[in-house]
């Protein structure tokens, strides 16, 4: 197992480089450069700007400069040359991370609770309503939900601010919007898992022993029920990370997702490469952690 982990970790670097290179190629194809603007600069300045960022050097040199610059953290963003790519990522990633964590936390709390309620009160009005809400949560895209929530709670009722990221009150709507779809999935998984476990003998035995209902639920049934939820967490987290791109746009959260799209539009080559490499590394490490968690949880699963 250690061998596998080491192999996976070792594979990350070449994969990321490959990805960086493909992105670099894509960027070369795109017309327009980082320094085109409606108000033309004096040609000498244009020339110097391009030279400073090696835009006139052959492609292998350019690529090399970017990679080295990223590795030692000195590569400046082309759009904001006073800041390095590292600083921009460093200041915006924690924001995205907080957003993702809050969303995931919300999803788990709401999802697990609804799932339990649904399973315990199976086929009652509780069950039916929570599961319907869950289904709606899965079907409503987050970019429809977000503006809707803003419309109702921020502009209509005025309970929270409509945008920005400063203080707890601004974090509520973005986290809810991002997390709701996952809450819905988790609710369904929890309910199904619980239903399966509740029917088993071992739970019936516990009940027969006269243990209180909630003890039965929490101590015995839940543990088994949560396995599918935990296995779902892996892909869910990865998806939440990409989900932040849209949420950050809707709520103007200064996170990493914004740079993703905007730097490609701005042709800020250094930032695009930086963000792609960063995201790729994170996702690959995450995948690895998830796979490790699977083996730990379900010993039948073996890593290839």
């Amino acid at each position: 197992m250690i061998g596998h982990v080491v192999r996976r970790l070792a594979a990350i670097l070449p994969l990321v480089l490959l990805l960086a290179f493909s992105t670099f190629l894509l960027l070369q194809l795109a017309p327009g450069g980082p320094f085109d603007a409606e108000r033309n600069f004096p040609p000498e300045i244009q020339k110097q700007l391009e030279a400073r960022f090696s835009l006139d050097a052959p492609w292998y040199e350019q690529f090399g400069t970017y990679i080295v610059g990223l590795a030692d953290g000195t590569l400046p963003s082309m759009k904001r040359p006073g800041l390095t790519v590292g600083e921009l990522i460093g200041s915006s990633f924690p924001v995205s991370l907080t957003l993702g964590t809050l969303a995931m936390g919300f999803a788990l709390c709401l999802g697990i609770t609804s799932g339990i309620i649904g399973a315990i009160r199976q086929n009652s009005i509780w069950d039916w309503s929570t599961m319907s809400v869950a289904l709606i949560g899965i079907s409503v895209p987050n970019f429809v939900l977000g503006p809707l929530l803003i419309l109702i709670f921020a502009l209509g009722l005025g309970w929270v601010p409509p945008a920005r990221w400063e203080g707890l009150e601004t974090m509520i709507l973005p986290a809810v919007t991002l997390g709701l779809a996952y809450a819905a999935y988790i609710a369904r998984l929890t309910r199904a898992g619980m239903l399966e476990v509740i029917r088993t003998d071992f739970v019936r035995t516990a009940r027969a022993k006269g243990l209180a209902e909630h003890v039965v639920v929490i101590r015995h049934a839940l543990r088994g029920a949560l396995l599918p939820v935990i296995t779902y967490l892996g892909p869910a987290t990865a998806r939440i990370i990409t989900g932040t791109v849209v949420i950050e746009k809707i709520f103007q959260v200064p996170g990493l997702g914004y740079y993703f799209v905007q730097s490609a539009l701005d042709r800020d080559y250094s930032m695009v490469l930086g963000v792609v490499c960063f995201y790729a590394s994170i996702l690959m490490v995450l995948n690895l952690l998830v796979d490790i968690a699977y083996t730990w949880l379900d010993p039948r699963v073996k890593l290839a």
Binding site: P31, G32, S92, P162, A163
Partner: protein, 702 residues
């Protein structure tokens, strides 16, 4: 139902919810986007400017109502008698927040910093009215031995198309000024019979000059010996080694020597490290130019004489070490700590509006020398204005706090500027009562019909214009009749009525509102005449007119306008037109490369004078992009720059505008307006043509 309930929130005299409970000494607004730079020498557009102008003072400040220059760092100023310069007297109680006093040296250092191409200042053009500034910005003006000022003029190579004197047809020869007629040709002994460029450049022989009628030669090549380093390198000079960085520019001297203008050294270096970005080879010849006349200012009389004939000196006979690239050649001078004199390249009565501009404000040398490009971070920054920077979170906000040592009075203690670049979110924040104002044109167009009756909404004329550029190098657009026909077949009122925000239709480029200027009216909507012209040009009823495209960048407004114009041309001229939309970067590239038929464009004036629009169309104007030039037009502009009498000068400019209306290298469509939202309890802001609203004048009455 729900819609009515939600719409209810929009009822009420103001669009934004009241902020009566908020702190009256804190102003909160959205600055439209994250600024690119807050260093005055590097700053670019309005979002940068709004922050810079509160942190740093300039020689003058925009007057709150009419933008008239108010004393700021300069307490008073004297105009030079010939109208080509000013002497500023600085106040002695202005200081940087680190305690050092603000002096004229700060201005000299900052302006040189803007113009020195090594620092890559993108708005250097704001200083181009200062004498020699454009040349300095292109590293083409030096100080030679015994203090003579030398301009490096490009020389070109031409090929003779017929025999002339002792030169044969087919020969390549160097020419000093390719636009002159007759051409002055440089012939070097034993190098006459050369047909290859490299050979010509490397050849060394005694020189002689002779004249050649321009029609006997055709352009062969521009040559260059100014190169950019493609990586860090070491220059080996007799006085020691000099480290050079990638991107620096050096001058290649035959004999494999290199001259490094920025620190006046000459030596050898591995020539393979030099990049030749344009693949061209151009030689610079040094030509002596008249030194700046400082004598007796401010009483310098304009004698109206032409400059002296240049003495021609070539680079090779002058040791490169004797050339100095230094701000001495620039048209400003520190007379003493509190006196700063500026000479301009022409008559520019609007210069005092420019002295309030972001780019002309002084930056603190001491901070730059200590921290380099990180000097604008809150922990390093040093400011001179009413506020200083406390917090800066990228893409979130700037927080400015009052500078207690500032020489003036300000009513606010704190300014919070958000950096949200989504204008709908910005409007929503204002609506929900989180900001005090929405800056000009940060308002979505679709909201405007609802806003019209609100107390907090204001529309005012803007000094800017929306045009359709015409590619005059591409037939049939090279025919002025075609261009005029196209212009006259557009019912501009139609366009403006659709946009619904109070824009004004335009038949000439300079927007209204400039004092003393009577614009030349262009041809209005005249479909009959348009048809007649088109027929005369050879396309009766639009028959045979080639299909062409209107290019615009992706934005709903542009699409709307294009659709209407397409409609108009089909209806009135019978010409079918296609629309082509491209995203921003692609659109810019296409326009710059003259790859279009008709393209949408816009321009916002930098200062209160018609010249800001008229100077775009001179030859080599970097923002011309239509391929149109006319030496008579250029001459008129230059002449206006020599006319001291303001009324006469404006008249000459009007004549130039009339030429544009006549020739139509572009079609003016409409003049923009500024639309802004301001909470009623915010005082001290007034609508004006340049949309300058210095926060230092604002106060909040709660």
């Amino acid at each position: 139902m729900l819609f009515a309930a939600l719409a209810c929130v929009a009822d009420g005299p103001t669009f934004g919810l009241s902020r009566a409970e908020e702190d009256p000494r804190t102003l909160v607004f959205n600055n439209a986007t994250e600024p690119e730079f807050i260093d005055p020498t590097q700053a670019t557009g309005h979002p940068d400017g709004r922050i810079v102008q509160e942190l740093f003072d300039g020689l003058t400040e925009y007057g709150p109502v009419d933008l008239a220059p108010q004393p700021s760092h300069a307490l008073s100023w004297d105009a030079h008698a010939d109208g080509r310069g000013y002497t500023f007297h600085l106040r002695d109680d202005a200081a940087w927040t680190d305690g050092t006093p603000v002096t004229a040296n700060d201005y000299a250092w900052s302006w040189e910093h803007v113009l020195n191409p090594v620092y890559l200042a993108r708005y250097a053009q704001q200083l181009y009215f200062v004498e020699r500034a454009p040349l300095y910005n292109s590293s083409r003006v030096f100080v030679g031995p015994d203090g003579t000022h030398l301009e490096a003029k490009r020389s070109y190579v031409v090929r003779l198309v017929e025999d002339h004197e002792d030169l044969d047809e087919g020969w390549l020869v160097e020419v000093v000024d390719p636009d002159a007629d007759p051409l002055t040709v440089i012939v070097r002994e034993d190098c006459e019979d050369l047909n290859d460029l490299a050979g010509l450049l490397d050849c060394e022989g005694a020189e002689r000059r002779l004249e050649l009628p321009a029609d006997k030669a055709e352009p062969a090549w521009p040559m260059a010996n100014t190169r950019v380093l493609r990586e860090d390198a070491t220059l080996h000079t007799p006085g020691g080694d000099v480290g050079l960085s990638r991107g620096e520019e050096v001058v290649l001297i035959p004999g494999d020597k290199v001259f490094y203008p920025t620190s006046e050294k000459t030596g050898t270096l591995d020539l393979s490290l030099l990049a030749d970005p344009r693949g061209e080879r151009v030689r610079y010849d040094l030509v002596e130019i008249e030194p700046i006349d400082w004598s007796g200012t401010p009483d310098v009389e304009d004698t109206g004489e032409e400059p002296l004939d240049p003495i021609e000196v070539t680079l090779r006979t002058l040791s490169a070490a004797e050339l100095r690239f230094t701000p001495e050649v620039l048209g400003f001078r520190v007379d003493d700590d509190h006196t700063f004199t500026v000479r301009l390249s022409g008559i520019a009565p609007f210069f005092l509006t420019l002295t309030s501009h972001t780019t002309l404000r002084a930056a603190p040398r001491q901070a730059w020398e200590e921290h380099g490009s990180r000097w604008t971070r809150p922990e390093n920054i040093v400011t001179s204005g009413p506020f200083t920077l406390e917090t800066h979170i990228v893409r979130d906000r700037f927080e400015l706090v009052r500078n207690p040592d500032w020489w003036g009075e300000v009513e606010l203690d704190r300014v919070i500027a958000y950096s949200i670049d989504n204008l709908h979110t910005s409007a929503n924040l204002y609506r929900a009562g989180y900001t005090d104002l929405v800056v000009a044109n940060d308002i979505p167009a679709e909201f405007i019909p609802i806003l019209r009756d609100k107390e907090d909404f204001e529309v005012s004329p803007a000094l800017s214009v929306y045009v359709y550029r015409i590619n005059t190098t591409k037939p049939p657009f090279d025919d002025v009749r075609v261009r005029r026909a196209l212009a006259m077949a557009i019912e501009k009122e139609d366009v403006v009525s659709v946009l619904k925000a109070g824009q004004l239709s335009a038949d000439h480029i300079v927007p209204p509102g400039l004092p003393g200027y009577t614009a030349a009216r262009g041809p209005g909507f005249d479909p009959e005449e348009a048809r007649r012209l088109l027929a005369e040009a050879g396309y009766p009823n639009g028959e045979g007119f080639p299909r062409f495209k209107i290019l615009y960048n992706t934005l709903e407004t542009h699409k709307l306008v294009a659709a209407i114009i397409q409609d108009n041309w089909a209806k009135h001229l019978g010409i079918p037109v296609e629309l082509e939309n491209r995203e921003w970067k692609t659109y810019l590239k296409t326009v710059n490369n003259l790859d279009y038929d008709i393209a949408r464009g816009g321009w916002i004036g930098d200062y209160l004078d018609p010249l800001t629009f008229l100077e775009l169309w001179i030859e080599d104007g970097g923002n011309n992009n239509t391929g149109w030039t006319d030496p008579a037009y250029d001459a008129l502009i230059v002449e206006a720059g020599r006319t001291a009498d303001p009324a006469e000068r404006l008249e000459k400019l009007a004549q130039a505008e009339a030429m544009l209306n006549e020739q139509m290298p572009f079609i003016p469509i409409y003049h923009y307006v500024w639309s802004e939202l301001t909470q009623p309890d915010v005082r001290g802001t007034h609508p004006n043509l340049l949309d300058q609203h210095p926060i230092r004048y604002m106060s909040i009455e709660r």
